[in-house]
């Protein structure tokens, strides 16, 4: 018994270190280690199955001089640049629309959670079925309203917007819920005062709502940008980067390089580019956040 007591005393003295230690070890092993290893791997001509050879920065040079890398950058920025602003704009609209009392409000909030928690593979599969050019229900809808049929994800010129549509469907509700939470923090008296002063609804939105939830809008923008840049499941399941390489984002390209062409070193170098792209954009947006505060 005294032994246990002594152990407890030792533990108590070092509690701030010992409490987080197991997680710290796991983080180093599972997360920090692999990221560092990735930098090392990227300097090797490493095809899985063959002995690796140090080649310095050749992988990076190969990426920068390859058309497929720049296509990956294009697809990544196109996808993110189209999806995120639409999500934030629609999310804002939906938040304002839902920020009132109506019957079944609680139920509506629950429904809004479904797209973001549903298994991405399942979601992607159902959208793939709906996109089908000959049997898909989306073309049926287009025809019903008198529009021409579309090839959707089978057409290299509209595959990215089509995928964006799925991403918008999946993530706009989250943006809306973030902004809805922020709207609840806007004091009702502000609106009453504005109404007495004869402000229109549009003016109240422009001069009261927007400034108070600006911070939340930027948070949504940051969170969505980070995740949109890294989108994998959706794109890989629906198009696997195709047709051709039209929707092959950097993430998907890196996956193929690593696990379809088995070129670990080259894949690692692509991932370092992607990591810096995500970090760069996250830091830029965070700068924006401190600016609006």
């Amino acid at each position: 018994m005294p032994l246990v007591k002594r152990a407890m005393e030792v533990f108590d003295r070092h509690a701030p270190l010992l409490f987080p230690l197991p997680a710290l070890i796991a983080i180093v092993l599972l997360i920090v280690g692999p990221v560092v290893a990735n930098f090392v791997i990227s300097t090797y001509g490493w095809s899985i199955g063959r002995p690796p050879a140090f080649i310095g920065l050749d992988n990076f040079a190969e990426a920068l001089s390859g058309r497929r890398f720049w296509n990956g950058i294009r697809a990544t920025l196109y996808f993110t640049g189209l999806a995120v602003p639409i999500q934030v704009a629609l999310g804002l609209g939906i938040a304002v629309l839902f920020h009132r009392n109506f019957p079944g409000k609680g139920l509506v909030r629950t429904v809004m959670l479904l797209p973001m928690v549903a298994t991405p593979v399942a979601i992607a599969l159902i959208w793939a079925l709906m996109f089908d050019p000959s049997l898909g229900v989306l073309n049926y809808f287009l025809e019903t309203v008198g529009l021409p049929r579309s090839l959707w994800v089978a057409d290299s010129s509209i595959v990215v917007p089509s995928l964006v549509m799925v991403d918008v469907w999946q993530w706009t509700p989250m943006v809306a819920l973030i902004l809805l939470a922020a709207l609840q923090g806007v004091p009702q008296e502000f609106y009453e005062a504005a109404e007495i002063d004869g402000a229109s609804g549009m003016q109240a939105f422009r001069f009261i709502t927007l400034p108070t939830i600006r911070g939340a809008i930027v948070v949504a923008l940051i969170l969505r940008s980070i995740d949109a840049l890294k989108t994998f499941d959706l794109i890989y399941v629906i198009t696997a980067g195709g047709p051709g390489t039209a929707s092959e984002t950097l993430n998907v390209y890196a996956f193929k390089a690593g696990f379809e062409f088995f070129r670990a070193g080259y894949a690692a170098s692509l991932l370092i580019f992607l990591l810096f792209l995500v970090l760069g954009i996250a830091m830029f947006l965070n700068l924006l956040r401190s600016r609006v505060r």
Binding site: V108, V121, A122, I123, L129, L223
Partner: protein
């Protein structure tokens, strides 16, 4: 007081007042209807893919491959029967369940003390490290892990999948629990110390029981995220450990497309997630935003 004679003609009559009130009321009603119509439209769009998923799962192949959508039909459970009987679906579900449970459990054991420590000793550096983990694309972890697991012959083992799923679950658990632990009054802990309790004992016997709702929410979220995980499982699983998302993905890659089977499989993966979501709806957004939004 009588109005000036000239003003009388400009004053509205009772009838025109009524008409104006009626018009204003009608405008209000129209706006109300418009708003409700918009809300309904948004909900319909959010729900449609789920509706289509269920419809597809209950129709036979002929109805599913009809060029004009078949909306009314006699539902069949044939697709579910086929998916479960012919595709080893129960094995894949079991695999998913084992991996998600193990990674959640280990995530709790590792993550709870860390979250407590961050909350109590204000270790913001540690919190930052976890945030960076959230920024890094998951494939970045996968390349080194694949090489390591391959040389250790651990591909297609529960160990490899549990460990990598921990990358998703543990940061989530830590992040959610920080705010729960911060809300436990420090006076309670100090009272325990005065009574001679150790710090570990105080954490286990006082702080943790008080934070149980948070622990439940964090566990369920970590479980859902592991259940939904596709990328790690795609590369590191094999015939023995294949979880449902990968099984369903392979389902379309090989062989002809059985629409109804796909729909049924999609419903079967999504159903547990939806049920779990209903239990912890308050915490979903705060979990997905790493605490940027409080539930």
């Amino acid at each position: 007081m009588n109005p000036a004679p000239g003003a009388a003609t400009r004053l509205p009559t009772q009838a025109s007042l009524d008409r104006r009130a009626l018009r204003a009321k009608r405008a209000r009603v129209m706006k109300r209807i418009g708003v409700i119509a918009l809300i309904v439209l948004v909900l319909l769009i959010m729900l449609f893919p789920f509706y289509w998923m269920i419809l597809t799962s209950l129709r036979n192949q002929v109805a599913n491959t009809s060029p004009v959508p078949v909306w009314i039909f006699e539902p069949t459970f044939e697709n579910y029967r086929n998916v479960i009987a012919e595709n080893d679906f129960l094995r894949f579900t079991w695999n998913s369940f084992v991996i998600a449970s193990l990674s959640t459990l280990i995530g709790l054991v590792l993550g709870l003390p860390a979250a407590y420590s961050i909350a109590r000793y204000k270790q913001h550096g540690l919190a930052l490290a976890i945030l960076i983990a959230r920024l890094t694309p998951y494939i970045t972890y996968l390349v080194p892990w694949y090489i390591a697991f391959r040389s250790l012959r651990l591909i297609d083992t529960y160990l490899a999948l549990t460990m990598t799923h921990l990358i998703v679950g543990m940061p989530l658990i830590i992040w959610i629990m920080i705010s729960f632990f911060e809300e436990v009054p420090i006076e309670l802990e100090q009272a325990a110390y005065v009574d001679g309790a150790s710090k570990l004992g105080t954490f286990l016997r006082i702080v943790l029981p008080l934070s149980m709702p948070g622990v439940v929410a964090a566990s369920i979220l970590a479980f859902i995220f592991s259940w939904n995980q596709f990328l790690f499982s795609l590369v590191l699983s094999g015939p023995n450990t294949k979880p449902v998302p990968v099984a369903v993905f392979n389902f379309i890659s090989y062989g002809s497309i059985d629409f109804g089977g796909l729909g049924a499989a999609a419903v079967l993966i999504t159903l547990p997630v939806v049920v779990l979501t209903l239990l912890i709806q308050r915490y979903i957004v705060s979990g997905l935003t790493m605490g940027a939004v409080k539930g």
